[in-house]
C-alpha cells in the first residue's frame, strides 16, 4: 500500500477517485477548495468528469442527476454552501439516490468565518432540509480516515440508496498527515433502477420524490423509515480508548477528539482514569454504547467546537443515568490541550464539580 504525505482534503479526493468516484460537481468556497481543485486535475486522468457549477444549488442538482443516472458522484462544500444544498439533499434523500456530500465545516451563522467549527452537527445529523429523512454521517478523525471513510461512504450510499455526508472541518481538511492509499477500484454495484434510457426494459425507470396522494406519501415515508432503522442497526461506528477503566469519559469527534486525546494522555501519566469515546458515525449515533457505559456509572464530558450540539445526543443517550458536563469552544477557535486538561480535571469525581 502506498504511503504519502497529504492534506486531508486531497487525501479525501484521492480516496474518492480510488473508490471509483468518476463525477464531481461543486462550487468554490473556502476551506474546501483543495477538493474541487484536486478533482479538476485528477478526474480527467481517469476518464471522469469534473464540472464547476454556477452555484451550490446547481451543483447538488447535478449530483442528483448523475447519481440517479447511476454514476458514483461526489460534491463538497463548506457550511454556507452546504446550507444552499439542503433543498437538493432533501430531494436526493426522498428519491433514494446514492451520492456523497462533504462538508469541510467553518464557523457560522451567516457568512461566519473560515476557521474550523463543529457547529453544523445539527444540520448534518437532524436533517438540514425539509421532511423526515436521514443522512449517514461520518466524522473522520485523521487524514487516513478521510481516505477510508470516503471509500466506505460510496459503498454505503449505494448499498442503502441514500446520501452520505462526510462532516470534516477546516483543520481536518488543511492538515497534512501520512496516509496509506488503497489500490484503485472501479467496480460499482448493479443499479437496475438508474435512469440510463429504457434500453429494452419494458418499464421506464423513474426517479422521483413526489407523493401527491396522502397514502402514497405515507407509504414512501414508512419505507424510508424502515431503511433508516436498518441503517441505524448495522452502521454505527465509534472508537473507544480506555473507557473500560475510566471514571470519566470524554466524548468528542473530529478535530476536538485530537485535542482531547492529547489532554487525556497527559492526565493518564498523572494517574487519572480518563477515557475517550469518539463517535465515527454521527448518524446513526452510537447511543447504545454510551448508554451501557452510563449504566456502569461513568461520568461524561462532551468537548466540541460549538455552543452545544453533540452534547444533546449524549444527554439523550445516557438518559439521566449519568452526569454529563459540557465544554464548548465557539466558532472560530479551537480548544487548547491545556483548556481541555483543566476542564477534565474539574469534571472528575474528585474535581469538585460534584
Amino acid at each position: 500500500m502506498e504511503r504519502v504525505m497529504m492534506k486531508g482534503n486531497e487525501a479525501l479526493a484521492e480516496g474518492a477517485i480510488r473508490a471509483g468516484c468518476r463525477y464531481f460537481f461543486g462550487y468554490p468556497i473556502t476551506p474546501q477548495n483543495e477538493i474541487p481543485e484536486y478533482m479538476a486535475r485528477r478526474l480527467p486522468e481517469v476518464g471522469g468528469v469534473f464540472l464547476q457549477a454556477e452555484s451550490e444549488v446547481s451543483a447538488i442538482n447535478m449530483v442528483y442527476g448523475a447519481g440517479g443516472a447511476g454514476g458514483r458522484v461526489l460534491t463538497s462544500s463548506s457550511s454556507p454552501g452546504i446550507s444552499l444544498k439542503q433543498e437538493g439533499i432533501s430531494y436526493i434523500a426522498g428519491a433514494q439516490v446514492p451520492c456523497v456530500i462533504v462538508n469541510v465545516a467553518r464557523g457560522g451563522p451567516g457568512l461566519g468565518g473560515l476557521n474550523p467549527s463543529q457547529s453544523d452537527y445539527f444540520q448534518a445529523t437532524k436533517g438540514g432540509g425539509h421532511g423526515d429523512y436521514r443522512l449517514l454521517v461520518y466524522a473522520p478523525g485523521n487524514a487516513q480516515e478521510m481516505v477510508d471513510l470516503i471509500g466506505l461512504a460510496f459503498d454505503k450510499a449505494e448499498e442503502y440508496r441514500n446520501p452520505v455526508m462526510i462532516l470534516s472541518d477546516a483543520i481536518m481538511g488543511q492538515m497534512m498527515e501520512p496516509v496509506a492509499l488503497p489500490a484503485m477500484r472501479t467496480e460499482t454495484t448493479e443499479k437496475p433502477w438508474a435512469t440510463t434510457g429504457k434500453q429494452g426494459r419494458s418499464k421506464p425507470n423513474i426517479i422521483n420524490s413526489l407523493g401527491l396522494v396522502g397514502e402514497d406519501l405515507e407509504r414512501i415515508n414508512i419505507e424510508l423509515q424502515a431503511k433508516y432503522a436498518r441503517l441505524a442497526a448495522a452502521e454505527v461506528r465509534y472508537e473507544t480508548d480506555g473507557t473500560g477503566e475510566a471514571d470519566l469519559i470524554v466524548v468528542a469527534y473530529g478535530t476536538s477528539s485530537r485535542v482531547v486525546r492529547s489532554a487525556i494522555n497527559r492526565l493518564r501519566q498523572e494517574g487519572k482514569k480518563v477515557g475517550l469515546f469518539r463517535p465515527i458515525t454521527l448518524w446513526p449515533f452510537p447511543k447504545e454504547a454510551l448508554a451501557s457505559l452510563a449504566a456502569e456509572g461513568k461520568r461524561f464530558l462532551v468537548v466540541e467546537m460549538s455552543a452545544g450540539q453533540l452534547v444533546e445526543d449524549v444527554i439523550l443517550a445516557v438518559n439521566d443515568r449519568a452526569k454529563v458536563s459540557f465544554f464548548g469552544k465557539l466558532n472560530g477557535t479551537v480548544p487548547t490541550v491545556r483548556e481541555v486538561y483543566d476542564r477534565i480535571l474539574s469534571s472528575l469525581p474528585e474535581g469538585g464539580e460534584g
Binding site: F25, V49, V57, A66, G197, N205
Partner: protein
C-alpha cells in the same frame, strides 16, 4: 394500406391531468413524435419540472427524473455527463425556467450542454393557481397582479429566446406556437430539429412554445387560443433565434 397516423410510441396510454383546452397535451404529443421519428426512445431520459407538467413522467414512455423547481437543466447536466450517448431533455414552464431556474438555464445554455429544453410559456403559474409569471404580459391580470401587471412596479416580461441568443453555447433556439394546426405543424418541426441537434452531438437546444391556459386566464379554450395569436405572439415573436447548422438527425 400505409398507416399515416398513429398513437406515438413514446407516449403512455395514461389519461393526463391537464385542464380542458390546455395545450400541454399537444406539446407532449409533438415531443413524443419527435422521439419516435428520430428512433431515440430507448436512450431518451426526461426531466420533469415543478409546475403543471410535474407528472410528465407518467405520460412519456421513457426514463425520467423529477427535478426541484427550476433545477431541471442542472439535473439534465448530471445525467448527460454520466450518459453522453443518451438523449436528455427537460420540459419546463415559465415560472420554473424563467424565474426560479434562470441561473440554471443560462448556464446550461452557455456551457453548450448537449441537452434539449422544451420551454412552455403560458404567461402564468398554472399549477399554483394563476399567479404572475416572469412572462406575464404588461397589463395582464393574475391572482398576484389583480390590477394587471404594472411595469412601473414589477417590471417587464422576459423574452427567453432573445436573452439566450446572446450566448455562444446554444446550437438551436426557436419560438413556436400551438394555437392552430399550421403552427402546431411548425412547432413539431422545431421540436424535432431541437432533438436532432442533440442526436448530432451539437450544443444546447431549446424550443419555446407559446401555450394557452384557459383555466387561469378565465377564458374558453377558443378564446385562449385567440389570445395566444393576438396578444402573446406580438410580444413574443415567433422564429428561429439560433441555428448553428441544420441537421436532419435521420437515425431512425
Amino acid at each position: 394500406m400505409k398507416k399515416v397516423f398513429a398513437y406515438p410510441r413514446a407516449l403512455t396510454k395514461k389519461r393526463t391531468h391537464y385542464c380542458p383546452g390546455c395545450t400541454h397535451g399537444i406539446i407532449h404529443r409533438l415531443v413524443a413524435e419527435a422521439i419516435d421519428d428520430l428512433g431515440i426512445q430507448e436512450r431518451t431520459i426526461g426531466i420533469a419540472p415543478v409546475g403543471c407538467a410535474v407528472l410528465a413522467y407518467e405520460y412519456f414512455d421513457v426514463d425520467f427524473q423529477e427535478a426541484a423547481h427550476g433545477r431541471a437543466p442542472a439535473v439534465a447536466t448530471g445525467i448527460k455527463r454520466v450518459h453522453p450517448e443518451s438523449i436528455v431533455f427537460s420540459y419546463q414552464g415559465d415560472g420554473d425556467l424563467a424565474s426560479i431556474g434562470m441561473a440554471e438555464i443560462i448556464h446550461a445554455a452557455t456551457r453548450g450542454e448537449k441537452i434539449t429544453v422544451i420551454f412552455v410559456n403560458n404567461t402564468v403559474y398554472g399549477m399554483t393557481g394563476g399567479q404572475m409569471a416572469p412572462t406575464t404580459l404588461p397589463g395582464q391580470k393574475t391572482t398576484t397582479s389583480p390590477y394587471g401587471r404594472d411595469t412601473a412596479t414589477v417590471g417587464y416580461p422576459i423574452r427567453v429566446c432573445e436573452l439566450l441568443s446572446t450566448l455562444d453555447g446554444p446550437s438551436y433556439l426557436a419560438r413556436v406556437s400551438v394555437h392552430d394546426p399550421a403552427h402546431i405543424k411548425k412547432a413539431g418541426q422545431a421540436i424535432r430539429q431541437a432533438f436532432a441537434m442533440q442526436v448530432a452531438g451539437k450544443g444546447f437546444s431549446l424550443v419555446e412554445v407559446l401555450s394557452s391556459c384557459p383555466t387561469n386566464w378565465g377564458m374558453t379554450p377558443t378564446q385562449a387560443l385567440t389570445q395566444v395569436k393576438e396578444k402573446l405572439i406580438p410580444y413574443y415573436p415567433l422564429g428561429v433565434f439560433r441555428m448553428t447548422e441544420e441537421v436532419a438527425g435521420d437515425d431512425a
